[in-house]
Every structure is written in structure tokens, then in C-alpha cells.
Symmetry: C2
Subunit: 332 residues, 2 copies
């Protein structure tokens, strides 16, 4: 037990020959103290191996060094990296987190959570949604500390919101195909009612129109599954559509498309280049050989960004987007 828990600030002050108040100011750095004094106090603190009692500091200052994290089904596939990123970022910044998981839509549950968080005197709150298909009701007015939202559609323009950039994902994927010489691009994706589907498609169309290219065929809407990707690719091949690239709404669809190409002797990426979204294997199985070029939405980084925002002094209202990244694989 090398750390002496019995050294108090008063002891440091005595050794340094200053008052308790001065010792406090010297160490906290929040107040005007002469350099000489500060140095003397620091030396004394070092010599005594002074470790301030965090509990006393919190009580006296009113700051808990704890952040509330309100999650909507934190264990869901895509929420998980966001929550994990946030928790790690908070940890690196010396902030504890009180994570309350539940139904953000459930009014009763939420008001309980809000009470708990307020009672614990959290220094800030991060609300983590489950994508941006749903909005989380704004809780900002319940707190007098910063509230930041991540991975959920904003409910109020006043709120600070962080989102993955699905449009940019579509843009990046398509740009990559165009930049590598493809000109006849198809799009296989999930159901058209999904916001992610819509935004990825919009980004794709922007990239195409910038390049003056048409889409090589109608967008095929289905599901986020490998099965759908395979079925859609079968249909496309059966219809003898002329194309040299496919932008798939996610990696599952991409894998299904590749499976079918391989089975039917269509070379990937020789005949057809394929790009997906999610960086599936990257999320999942770090050591695996990548089969697919994909767009990584950087969900963990998104969580970190939002966490930094809760703590940071430079908070502001509005939506901000985490830029996705292109992850190259053999399929394009």
C-alpha cells in the first residue's frame, strides 16, 4: 500500500508553510497564486505523496466527475460501439459514467432515470439512441448541466446532436467506384422507408450527378440481409442488366451479391466491383481477412466525439456528422 491515504491537504499546507486555502488554490490552479508559493505547495504535495480525496472534492465543489449515459437498448448491434466509444472516452478523461439503459420512449421509465441522474448530481448527460430512425424526446430542460444526443434524430434544434453521416457514406462508396473507373453502377439496398437507406441513396446520387453518370438500373429495395443481396443479384443477372459495379446498402447485402457473382462466374472485382457499408468484419472479427470493400460509419468514434462534447467547453446546438471512412477490400 504505497499510497498514504492519511495525508490531507492541511498537512501539505503545513509543510509548505501556507494556509489551507492557499494550498488548495495552488494545487487546483483555478486561482491567482504566486509562482513561488505554487512551487512550494507542489513540492510539499509531492514529498508527502498527497492524493486529494475525490469524495471531498466533489462534495465541496458540487461536481461529481460523473456523467449520466442514457441508452436506448445499449446492447443492440449498432448502439454498442457508440456506447463503448463514449464510455472509453469518458474514462480517458477521468469521468465516471452512470449508464441507465431502457426504453427512451417510455415516459415513466425516463422520469425515473432523470431523477436518478439528477440525484447523483451528474456533470452532464449523454443520450444514446439506436440509430436515427427514431427521435429521442429532448431531456435538456430537465437538467442544468450539458446534455448531448448521439445516434438519434434531434427532437429540438437547440440540442447538440451527433450522427453518423449516411449520406456521405453513400457518396464515398459511389465516388470510390467512379474513381476506380466504373461507369455503370447499380444500387441494391434495404427498404425505402428507412432513413439510412434514403440518405445513402441520396449520397450515391450526388456522386453520380457530379460525375455526369446515370444509374445503370433501378434501385432495388429489399432488406438488410445477405439473402436479399443474393436474391437481388440473381435478378439483376437474370435480367442481363449491363453494369460494372454495385453499391450495396450494407455489407450483408454485399456479401450476398458477391456469393451469387462467384457462383455464376461473374468476376469480383474483375467484372463487377462491389462496395458495402458497415465494415462488418471490422466491427466483428478483427483478425479476419476482409472480403469486401466497405464504408465504415465510425460508430465508436461517433460515441467518443459525442462524449467529448458533453465535457467540452465548446458545445453548441445543432447536428454534427461523423465522417465515414472507406475501407478497401478485394471486392472493388
Amino acid at each position: 500500500m504505497p499510497i498514504n491515504r492519511d495525508v490531507r491537504l492541511a498537512d501539505v499546507a503545513a509543510v509548505a508553510g501556507v494556509s489551507l486555502a492557499t494550498a488548495s488554490k495552488a494545487l487546483s490552479g483555478n486561482d491567482r497564486v504566486s509562482e513561488a508559493t505554487r512551487a512550494r505547495v507542489r513540492a510539499a504535495a509531492d514529498r508527502l505523496d498527497f492524493r486529494p480525496n475525490a469524495l471531498a472534492q466533489s462534495f465541496a465543489s458540487g461536481r461529481s466527475r460523473t456523467i449520466g449515459v442514457l441508452t436506448h437498448r445499449a446492447a443492440a448491434t449498432f448502439s454498442r460501439p457508440v456506447v463503448m466509444g463514449a464510455v472509453l472516452e469518458f474514462g480517458e478523461r477521468g469521468q465516471a459514467v452512470l449508464v441507465l439503459d431502457g426504453e427512451i420512449q417510455a415516459h415513466r421509465e425516463m422520469s425515473n432515470s432523470i431523477r436518478t441522474l439528477r440525484d447523483r448530481r451528474v456533470d452532464g448527460l449523454l443520450v444514446v439512441g439506436d440509430g436515427h430512425e427514431h427521435v429521442s424526446p429532448s431531456l435538456t430542460h430537465h437538467f442544468d448541466v450539458p446534455v448531448t444526443y448521439v445516434f438519434t434524430a434531434p427532437d429540438s434544434p437547440e440540442d447538440s446532436v451527433y450522427l453518423p453521416d449516411n449520406e456521405q457514406a453513400g457518396y464515398l462508396a459511389t465516388r470510390h467506384l467512379i474513381d476506380t473507373g466504373r461507369t455503370r453502377i447499380l444500387h441494391l439496398t434495404a427498404d425505402a422507408t428507412s432513413l439510412a437507406v434514403q440518405r445513402r441513396e441520396r449520397g450515391m446520387r450526388r456522386a453520380l450527378s457530379e460525375a455526369g453518370l446515370p444509374l445503370a438500373g433501378a434501385v432495388r429495395y429489399g432488406a438488410w440481409s445477405r439473402e436479399w443481396g443474393a436474391a437481388a443479384m440473381e435478378a439483376v443477372l437474370d435480367e442481363r442488366i449491363d453494369f460494372d459495379a454495385v453499391f450495396c446498402g450494407n455489407d450483408h447485402i454485399g456479401f450476398g451479391a458477391i456469393d451469387v457473382c462467384e457462383a455464376r462466374g461473374v468476376g469480383v472485382p474483375g467484372d463487377v466491383a462491389v462496395v458495402g457499408v458497415d465494415n462488418w468484419e471490422g466491427i466483428v472479427y478483427d483478425q479476419d481477412v476482409r472480403r469486401l470493400t466497405t464504408i465504415d460509419l465510425e460508430l465508436m468514434r461517433l460515441g467518443r466525439l459525442a462524449a467529448a462534447d458533453v465535457i467540452g467547453a465548446d458545445r453548441r446546438s445543432g447536428e454534427r456528422f461523423q465522417p465515414p471512412t472507406l475501407v478497401l477490400g478485394p471486392s472493388s
Copy 2:
């Protein structure tokens, strides 16, 4: 702002007509107080909507209601569910967590983390490893609060350690094949130096010997990948080995094996039943249609169990194993 932060325990005491000390005892329940008094104090607290100041409570009691979580690469595929489970469990129990991620092997980094955690007066510590291929050095002696280890091989027999039950996973998988009438079972798995490989194999052999069955062919050691699963299955089919079931070391290997079976006209599960380990799609993509029967190591539950242990009063030394579960799919 419906919650009145200005109501202090002293106000409650005044309204209830008792002393501050009695009010404290009545609400905390830790001390002998007459039922009548307790009821009066509770009523007063309710009426005033008294919310105890957690910061003051912590300071006075010395309990931070914060648990330290020391992780070794928390973002890694398999650590993530463990950490997530632990964090959620702590949250449900009103415990904040201070998560410090890093290299548990790195001495310097660890001693910094230990200091930070001690300074914050954590009420307990959970050390999360990255599987049980590595041991984490025991830190128990650095703390006078409970320390629990999870997902890492124990370094000291004194420690409280939680592990996934790889042997039971192998046993369950094999038992399932036997129970569904298979008698000629093969095993395709990763490299023999891995502890997980060894334990899963041991469980398999136990199930076989209980049933009086031999293995249908030599165990094939390779890698945790789909590619290896496919290659191994190709070889097995080429060698015309007589078998009706395959226990695969993980789901990736299982998928590779199924791919090859399907490509070569071997019916799954008609001709060959396949079982994997990891519940890969379950971890990953909740809504997906399952293709594979598999064993779920229940890593998130493992994290929860270990978290409950840190807090619980019934802690004891030694290793405990989280039972895996069988998840049925169409492949067996």
C-alpha cells in the same frame, strides 16, 4: 424543474419532528429506529420530495457508489460484450463506473490506473481480460475493496474469477449432435495451442466417451476463419471420410464448412449436421435469419455475473464458469 434541490435532510427532520441523526437513520434503514418514527420521517421526506445529496452521502460515508473497471482492450470483439454486460449491470444497481482501458500487462500504465482508481475511492474493481489466453496480474493487494476478475485466467487462487465455460461449450455441442442421432462426428477447429480450442475439444471428448462413441476422424487444427472451415471440409470430403456431423470450433469455421457442403451437394443437416460456437449472428445482427446451430458463451451475461459479484456480499475466491447455451438453427 420539478425536483427541489434545496430540501435537505434537516428540513425533513424538522417537519417530522425528529433530530437530524434520527432522520438519517430512519431513511437509510441501517440502524434501529421505531417503526412509528420511521414512518413519520418517510412521510415528511415524501411530502417535501426530499432527494438526498449523493455527493454529501458519499463524502460522509466514504462510499463513492463508483466501481472501477480495468479493461484490456475493451473494444476487442469478445471483450466488448463482457464490458457491456458489466456496465449495464452496474448501472442497474446504481453504481457508476470509471472505465480505464489499456494494456493490463503494462506495468507503468497499470500503476497509474491503480492510483487513479484508489484516488477516486472506488467501492470495488472489476478487471476484464480479453479471453482466457492471457493471465492478468493480480491487483487485489493494491485495494482494500473487492476485486473481481472476468474473462482472464486467474493469477492467484485467492482471486474471484469468472470465465466462459469452453469445455461445457464443446460438451453441449457434441451432446446435441449425439442426442439428435449422430454417431460419426468430426471436429474442425483452430490451432491446438489455443486454450479455447483445447477446452472445447476436451468437452467434446467427454460427451463422446459418455456415449461410447469414437471420433469419426482426426481433429483438424487450423484457424478461426471461414476460409479454414471451407478448406478443412474440402479435405474431409476429398478423403471420403465417413461422417454425419461436424462440431466446428467456432461459427466462422462452421459457415465455411456449410458453404462447401452446399457447393458439393452434401445436405445440411440431412447428410451432415453442423454446430459452431459463438452465436455469431446473434452477437452481431439480431434480426438476421440464423443459418447455424451454435453454442452461445453468453459473454454479456458473464460480464453481468462478474459485476454482480463485485458488489455482492457473497463473494468468494476461485473460478466460476458461466454456462453456455445451445442456440438451434437449421444446420443440425
